[in-house]
Amino acid sequence: MSGMRIKDAGLIDPSKPIKFTFDGKAYSGFKGDTVASALLATGIRVFARSFKYHRPRSVWGAWSDDPNAIVDIALDGISYPNCQATTTALAEGMEVRSINAWPSAERDVKGVLDLAHRFLPAGFYYKMFMWPDWHLFEPMIRKMAGLGTLEKEVSDQFQSAILHEHCDTLIVGGGPAGLTAARVAAEAGKSVTLVDDHAELGGSLFSMAHARGLNASDWVAEQTAAIQSAGGHILTDTTAIGVYDHRMISLVTDRGLGTAPILRKMRADHVIIATGAIDRPVTFVNNDRPGIMSVDAGTEYLARYGVRVGEKIAFLTNRPDVSTNLEQLAAAGASIDIVEAATPHIQAIGTKSITGLVVGGKSISCDTVLASAGQTPLVHLWRHAGGKLAWDEDRQTFIPSAGPDWMRVIGAAAGTFDFDVAVQEATAVALKAPAPPRSIYKVTPLRPDLANKGRQWIDFQHDVTLKDVALAHRENMVSVEHLKRYTTLGMAGDQGKTSNIAGLSAMAELKGQSIPEVGTTTFRPPFVPVPLEAFRGTKRDRQMAPLKRLALEPEHRALDAAMGEYGGWLRPAWYGGDDEKTAVVRECKIAREAAAIMDSSALGAIEVIGPDARDFVNFVYYNTMSNLKPGRIRYGFMLSESGLVFDDGVMACVDDTRFIISCSSSHADAVMAHLEHWRQDSFDPKRVHIHDTTVNWSTVTIAGPKASDIVAELGVLENLRDFPHMSLRFGDFEGEEARVARVSFTGDTSFEISVRNDFAATLWRKTLEIGKKHGAGPVGAEALTVLRAEKGYILVGKDTDGETMPHDLGFGAPRLKKSAAFVGDRSLHSEKANSEARKQLVGLIVKDGEPMLPIGAHIVRNKDGKRRSLGYVTTSHYSPTLGRPIALALVEGGEHAMGEPVDLWHLGQARSAKIAASCAFDPEGARIDA
């Protein structure tokens, strides 16, 4: 018989039974159990199957160092893959399923794979499956691999939170050393946070207190009370998973299966690592068999969960300090054998559960082996922080040496395995004093027995054996990282917590070197596997990239607007609840026959103010702005320093010291950053100031043949005399300043009226009311893009690409004539900028009756049976005004090819068209100032 529950032992609550199933059979455990302790208590040994050979797997450890007991668990109808049975708190109704096993872990049909092991050495797949092609074999290999199963269901409530916290002193680990350090630091007046990954503080104390005549729970309670009364903060179920730059430690608080954990980003001035140490496996034949566990696991299961893991227990270890473990298990009724671990030729007997050991030819009958080849301090966080390690020959392990001054390691994590010394050390370190000397602790080196016949496991989950390490050695894969990557040693769920030193030890033996000469691998976060959800925080759904909202959104919704995302803004796409096509045709007609009433508030509005404002705008614009008169508006481009079109739009001159830049709605933030960059780089910041007013103003645009009538009736301006296209005036609306700009993005007479946001709704309604009498109505973004396309007006980013310069868009003059310096100027004269082969913006016309050209279709030239791309269609619409399709395209040499036919290619289909001017409607511009 194997595991059983011992009465009155452990920290579990026997009054609270919890029902669960494992591989379909019903069991029960108690509150305080982990899935592993509950299963062990029922006598179950085989929890899962290993990755490669499908060997039966039980537990090796009692906590996060266990590589074996991985299970899928369903709770409340949602399944969670790859749960560590040893750390998952048992909950009512859990359906636990073994992984990598069918029909069950106990009877897995793929167990036969173990027989083929000799043909499946480390990296066997690198040596075969090349002919005819890897892709033929891959699906089979993939099916064999993998552990748990992912099911698609996920609860909307499975939501993490990311918190930002700070303390003077963070102590990681609530065992004897950590508790002591936390108490001393808190009592010294520090703001202290103590974290421990268990639900119960105490760490290794539970398995050692008994022998020290202490009551562990009482001692823990005393320290806890002292810490809290001194103002210390304690977080249980919380694991420090990684240390990041600038002293940030990520902490993950587990909230039980089915609830997403909380991620705390803790910044501490001083960090004390008291994470303890774990046993490492002894390398011998069949050392992976169920029933072979770590020494500490044996006592942890008893002390924490009241589970005695076996009846006849053999201790196989070089550790000098296991007497307390022996005594506790003996007191719980187990019979104990002590086996000299350094004996050659040790072998385990039994398949699904161990039945004995053969040691030096002698058989020992046992149902459980508690093994340890020495303790490995958990120094992950120290290494994340850049701390160094040194080999300690006495302890046969790596312990922290030099490292950052803000982090200290104490207790077993520092190799201080003795309770009393650890407490002294914790006290000293908490007060930033030098640590006392460690007491003598010497273990006999245990090197793998290379001559032992049979397979000896190094990595339990990944089925890496000593033979695999030997193969790596033979093939000159001797660097630690090559060994790891080639054999996959240390790459399993436990990330080498149990296997790394065993692997190094094996390689050292093979090379005839010492372990430190072989080296160590890098420790990477996270310390334990963490659900991806933990890192998501508020970056979910609409909060992920929040949309900008218009002040007039309720007005648009009241008009049955279809709302769409345009350049980060939620804007009305069309109105009236029709389908898009019908609505766009109707709105285009309104715009051309009466007037479009549009919400243009999303357009950027950036003010440039100050004595040097004029010089500044002249510098940041491609076009000459130095001679723009007050009250006038000019269209222009901003370029990047590499000469590419960065943004386009109009700029108004209010007076010599004030200019208002209007930029693409999606671009306002980038333009603002661009302007600030140049202001601070090349100007005196005291003489020019930039202010983004986009979100403070709302703009209603009235554009169309009836626009003047409507604006006149609105009464914002006293009269519209001497108010030509491309000029600016200030009027008032309801007693507040209203800015009126005569600019047009449709080609018709157009007024943009800007008012403070709180007057926007009134202006909008009044404009609609007056407009209605003239046949005008609201027009959305979709119709607007057709109207502007009819005129050949571009949208930067849509009708330009990463090569477009202003002279490709028909604006060549400033490049040749502007004498003042401007951003991007010199780049406009590179070999490429002067090249004949540039793509220029043109219009495309299709033959009568042919459908629209698809956007993204390429203009191609056939040469020697090969098509070469000359450019592509950037914009394409059906123009209700013209009654035919229109298109804009960037075409190599396009400006010199007016009227020429071109071939197009789209997803395998050929089309043809004719190059035309980009402006298809009212090319004389008669309507713009009508």
Partner: protein, 417 residues
């Protein structure tokens, strides 16, 4: 000793306990002089050495590696192989790479596990579908395979993706390249190293270059931690550390070094058969043969030579992954790390003379160096052997920054690198 790899040799060795396998490579001491010294024992450096020997008969070659071979970005990337580029120059380069990858395992007798499971670049709006069509057409015209998938076709290929109505970034379709996929990154380094070693190339690990031997303005070799090594010409393929070598070699580069993070989850039974990338979140993932999800995203925000990642980018990338495939919220992160990538002004590589005579450079691959290893090695070997460009590498000469002939994919096609 068994040198040739095949199912038969594996069977034979299996019967005798795998005791006869030859080492993958020797560990020679450096000679005094080589015809070519390659600095950097990553994928590009090793592939260069292999093609120098194989294509050009130049076998007196040393590859000098500071640490262990394949330990830089070759061993740190997310293993994606693709040629879904916009400009014909890029398509020619990366498609050469895909073609070489297609025959690589047989060519070097080492299974690099090139899995042509396809790569999809998702489109999340009508406007993105238009851009996707533009790219698909460009790829087809450039000679690479490409398809435009609609939402339903994407769902069929990758049912785990987010097809909920309330998705922040609904899936309208995707650019799909069927010949794209993933490879086993370490195997590429090991396979090239083994093949180069067989052809006589000396691979010298744990040997750090500390300076260049410059005589009369011409590079005549390298100073290393294992002594002076003279060389006819020197090829530098050190990715994120290219600027450090440039400083030693007296030439300048237009590069910034950034940490690029990668993430791997615990192993899951197969559920994802392709690579999926979302340009809106910048995140992408595939499932490795072992079962772990391999996740990547954009660069860290802070220029860095520290080979570790920082939390803001982690959160952005992983949140993006969950938005792409909500079920992945439950899957656990096992390990994350970073490589140092060298990002050029147009995010395209630099292959050509360095500016110091005798030194040639292969760098600036940014986030996309792994997929280009065979082409990078093939073209760099051509350059080192002939002192002149192959047609495919010519547009990537560093001189393009003087002439303005940049190859800026990000701006051209909306595909992030």
């Amino acid at each position: 000793m068994t040198r040739h790899y095949s199912a038969l040799s594996l069977l034979r060795e299996g019967l005798k306990g795998h005791t006869g396998w030859a080492p993958l490579w020797r560990s020679p001491a450096p000679k005094d002089t080589y015809d070519v010294v390659i600095v950097g024992g990553g994928g590009h450096g090793l592939a260069t050495a292999y093609y120098l020997a194989k294509n050009h008969g130049v076998t007196n070659v040393a590859v000098i590696e500071k640490g262990w071979l394949g330990g830089g970005n070759t061993g740190r990337n997310t293993t994606v192989i693709r040629s879904n580029y916009f400009y014909p120059e890029s398509t020619a380069l990366y498609d050469l790479s895909v073609r070489l990858y297609e025959g690589l395992s047989r060519d070097i007798n080492y299974n690099v596990m090139f899995s042509q499971r396809g790569m999809m670049v998702l489109a999340h709006s009508d406007a993105e579908m238009e851009l996707a069509a533009r790219t698909v057409n460009a790829m087809q015209l450039g000679g690479a395979d490409a398809e435009l998938l609609d939402g339903k076709e994407v769902q069929k290929k990758a049912p785990v993706l987010n097809f909920r109505d309330d998705a922040r970034y609904p899936i309208h379709g995707a650019i799909f390249q069927g010949r794209g996929g993933t490879g086993r990154h370490d195997a590429v380094a090991w396979g090239y190293a083994r093949a180069a070693d067989r052809l006589g190339v000396d691979i010298i690990q744990n040997c750090e270059v500390t300076g260049f031997l410059i005589e009369g303005g011409v590079c005549k070799g390298v100073e290393t931690s294992q002594g002076l090594i003279r060389s006819g010409s020197v090829g530098v393929a050190t990715a994120g550390h290219s600027s450090v070598l440039a400083e030693m070699g007296g030439y300048k580069l237009p590069l910034h070094s950034y940490a690029l993070q990668a993430f791997v989850t615990e192993a899951i039974k197969p559920f994802m058969d392709t690579v999926a990338f979302s340009p809106m979140t910048g995140s992408y993932f595939s499932q490795s043969d072992k079962g772990g999800l391999v996740i990547g995203g954009g660069l860290d925000r802070v220029p860095s030579y520290g080979q570790r990642g920082n939390t803001p980018t982690q959160e952005t990338v992983l949140a993006g992954i969950i938005d792409m495939a909500p079920a992945l919220a439950k899957v656990k992160l096992l390990r994350h790390w970073a490589g140092i990538v060298d990002v050029s002004p147009d995010s395209s590589p630099l292959i050509g003379p360095s500016g110091t005579e005798g030194i040639y450079i292969n760098c600036g691959w940014g986030t996309g160096g792994f997929k280009a290893i065979p082409a990078g090695g093939y073209l760099f070997a051509h350059l080192l052997a002939n002192g002149a460009h192959h047609d495919i590498s010519r547009p990537f000469d560093p001189g393009r920054f003087n002439t303005g002939h940049l190859i800026d994919e990000a701006a051209g096609s909306g595909i992030a690198h």
